[in-house]
Symmetry: D2
Subunit: 302 residues, 4 copies
């Protein structure tokens, strides 16, 4: 249950009173504002604010006085050009602010992206809620046998049941003990900043996260990727759906050049040229290692 | 003349059509949007966009669901607390985007502040305008005799006249030659990316500059300071007037703690304590160097 | 036990073979290299590499060709001037790389300082060790009754015993279950990236952390402060002792102007001036809130 | 003449006294230290300091205690893997500090890369030297007729002579007037911070520039590219030659995956797959615009 009735009432209040503004507005984003997109069992992503739209990217690229738009198709062409040639600064002219509720182990991956602004709920100051991420059965995956940093098929039967039982029981016991330690009922009560150390990494935290569009695209390229851990990928997917509504042309260019694109090494380009001329290239004649050769072929066959 | 009639028409068009938004709005900033605040002889500062307001700072500090405001006076107290204790992240939740026209030598100082986003008018791609900063007579200052990095009184008489004549004549000749070199009339025409090297540092450039409020305050503390070069200080002053209208409570806290504040060394604090107990402290008994002692006394007497 | 015999052998090997270099070297830092300074019950700080010394700060400030040093006392004066006037870029010319072992809840505070480079041990890829932070009895503090974000005296008697028992028992049970879930003995074994979610925040992690001296000073000012949580302050203290050996003049300036310094608001400066003239100022006549007035007086009496 | 006899003597002094160090050293970089690599007519690049080597990249990626090296070939494979999969943080563990002398218009492009540390020679404080970049005849290029942001063939004959004459005469006159304005001989003398505004953008400045290897690679990918302006590309080329000696394995990976690599859009990958199956794809059936189709074919034929 990502949102309580009380929180929903606050959200409704925020959505009830539109104000006039002279700033660039995005109709797609106005529809998203403040609403919570549910992610995992207790998490969410909420858009709190945004700055700029597709036209603002072009306006900055042209350093123009007015809206800088000659036509919508011109703008889309310019945006594709900027994306193709790695011109990052115009995309930095758009900004988004999100309120995110997420498990601590996801937050720890997320925060590695440093070019963003963050205000996290403080467990030194406040008491955390009893909310833990417990994977759905289909996401209770085994360790991958081919990739040290990956997962295989879902566990089944008794093993799955044992794991779920451990996760639920340990989380609740840890939280019971957290409450018992900070209680001031008949005792002094342990400092919150210490008591939190007993809580496992699947407890939920929340933060305000603000980032520009260029750095957001970098985050999404890595975290919406098939190799990202599922539990962060679902957040990235939710954000992708928001961005597609916010800056549709920029998102389409991002999809084509980054999410759906492919970066080849010089060796790989050389092989491609030979293959296009009709030569049969093998790993032995490619100059690539076995692993690179496999990745190269998978990319072309996918 | 910072703005042409054509540019003014574009600005008027942008101000003509308010849109409804659910985002936080600041009435003070809506009044500024797109208008040019003139700075120096041909420069300006224009607000293009903004994100957040005083309440947004508090909302992020509290990581709250709704507006997070209990009362305006509570908010002001919280903002002063955050400023006093160097809590920077809530101020990073506000963002401003400016369009600035400024001389190149000012731009070179400005860009040293790296935590901002910039799109500058490209003199590789486009032709620069014939606009140069020529100081007003009262700002045509002599080199300081006490401070290697400062200026003294204004030049007068023949010396002032000679300098103004040099600046005007050299700028115009350089621009004439710039035009002559890139002309494709009866010749190939030198590449723009090369021809620009002939232009002096008082030519005007322009850029879109986007920064969060915390980093903007850092910029303003250094550049609205009495020791900053006059030609960048006037830009900082113009921006200060904008920020005071945008986030009044945050600006008041900034004025009190940063612009009007004072940072003392441990040695200086020790002297102060002794002085407050009635001891007469001299440079010899202060433990400070002559320069530090002078700066300490100036700060207390100012 | 922060370091095993095997690790110590690796450290000894690294310290056994000095190489000639033409770079700036710091004798104080050479003595520290690779050695582990123990922190908390299982943690440490190790210097892995460093760049620059006091002279390098001056050399960059002067943009000079040679060592840029006129004399050691000149250098110290310049460094104090740079620190006093917030000239940060020369301090950015020094860099340090540390290997740190620390509890996860400390790592979560630490990582909020974004202007640094980090490589953390991956619990997606590798299996974490059974090492947890258990506070020493004198640091098992109660929640502060005056400060929501602080701690009071140490717990005593049965309450202390109960807390210690909970922390130890829960940590070990969580680790037993972590091992049971990832075991591939007679079962598939849960993916490591999922199993880690059962581990509490007092488990130890480790990382390589690289930062420039300016940003390190900012970190130390906040984290070596009396208001910082004890468990991160001991890391900051250990790093302070290293920096004092690395760049002694810069560290002395930092101690005087930042750690031992005081920042006063404009209102406070105004009160001071009146007090130095003999006026008796009270909270009512100070213009400050009760809280600001108390903090002001504490600072002057300390 | 990039280096005077006096400066050379300072450099020789710095190279004369190797010190023992326990840090990672790179023999290739020790040979470069302090020496000036000449660039353009008066510029240079000098390595002042460095941190880390190829092994340090692997050590950080593995968060290991010792050198972390199993074998040189293992290290090279790991480095290629990290580069291929955009793992940037291990490359951030290496750092380089350069002293660069360069024309102001090149410095203005360079500084747009913000993730670096810079200390520039101050023309507020000091007097600039009479040194200007004057292009060699073969680099006195015409504006490109196909690309607004590019250059074509070299100018010839009278046009070339006229341009060279303008550049030389204007630069020297501007400098004569700069000297005349700041002179304190029989007059007050204009403040240096104002007088500099008369100097053109081909005057040389200098700075200390410090950057980590990841961000340096990003800089080099953009600035060593064939589309970069020649006058900055020669600096990037000089730095490439240094990096190849410093971290040979990382540089080889960078060359293969970034400098010699190719990024394709999703549309382009789709076309490639069809072409490899024997289909004849034209612009009409490719889904690409004319410009993208041309760039795609150029990349495959190059």
């Amino acid at each position: 249950m990502p949102i309580t009735a009380e929180q929903q009432a606050e959200i409704d209040a925020q959505r009830a009173a539109p104000q006039p503004t002279l700033r660039a507005t995005s109709a797609g984003m106005e529809a998203h504002l403040y609403k919570a997109i549910p992610v995992l069992d207790h998490g969410f992503v909420r858009v709190i604010d945004y700055m700029g739209d597709d036209a603002a990217i072009c306006q900055a690229a042209r350093v123009s006085y007015g809206k800088g738009t000659k036509s919508v198709s011109n703008d889309e062409g310019l945006i594709r050009y900027l994306m193709r040639h790695w011109h990052s600064t115009p995309f930095e002219m758009c900004e988004i602010k999100l309120h995110v509720k997420l498990p601590v182990f996801v937050a720890r991956q997320w925060i590695r992206h440093r070019t963003a602004n963050v205000n996290e709920y403080s467990a030194r100051y406040s008491i955390l809620d009893r909310e833990f991420y417990i994977p759905a059965p289909e996401h209770l995956a085994a360790q991958s046998v081919v990739n040290n940093q990956g997962r295989g098929d879902a566990l089944t039967g008794q093993e799955a049941a044992r794991v779920l039982d451990i996760l639920k029981t340990d989380a609740n016991r840890a939280y019971d003990h957290y409450e018992a330690m900070i209680s001031e009922d008949g005792q002094q009560g342990l400092a919150r900043e210490l008591a939190r150390m007993n809580l496992p990494a699947n407890i939920y935290t929340q933060w305000y996260w603000k980032v520009d569009l260029h750095n957001l695209f970098h985050f999404l390229r890595l975290r919406a990727d098939a190799h990202a851990q599922y539990e962060i990928r679902v957040y990235a997917d939710a954000i992708c759906s928001v961005v597609a509504d916010w800056v549709p042309a920029a998102y389409r260019a991002f999809e084509d050049y980054r999410l759906g694109g492919l970066t080849l090494s010089g060796k790989a380009v050389d092989c491609l040229r030979r293959m296009l001329k009709g030569e049969t290239v093998t790993q032995e004649t490619s100059g690539m290692s076995a692993r690179e050769w496999r990745e190269f072929n998978e990319a072309l066959e996918a």
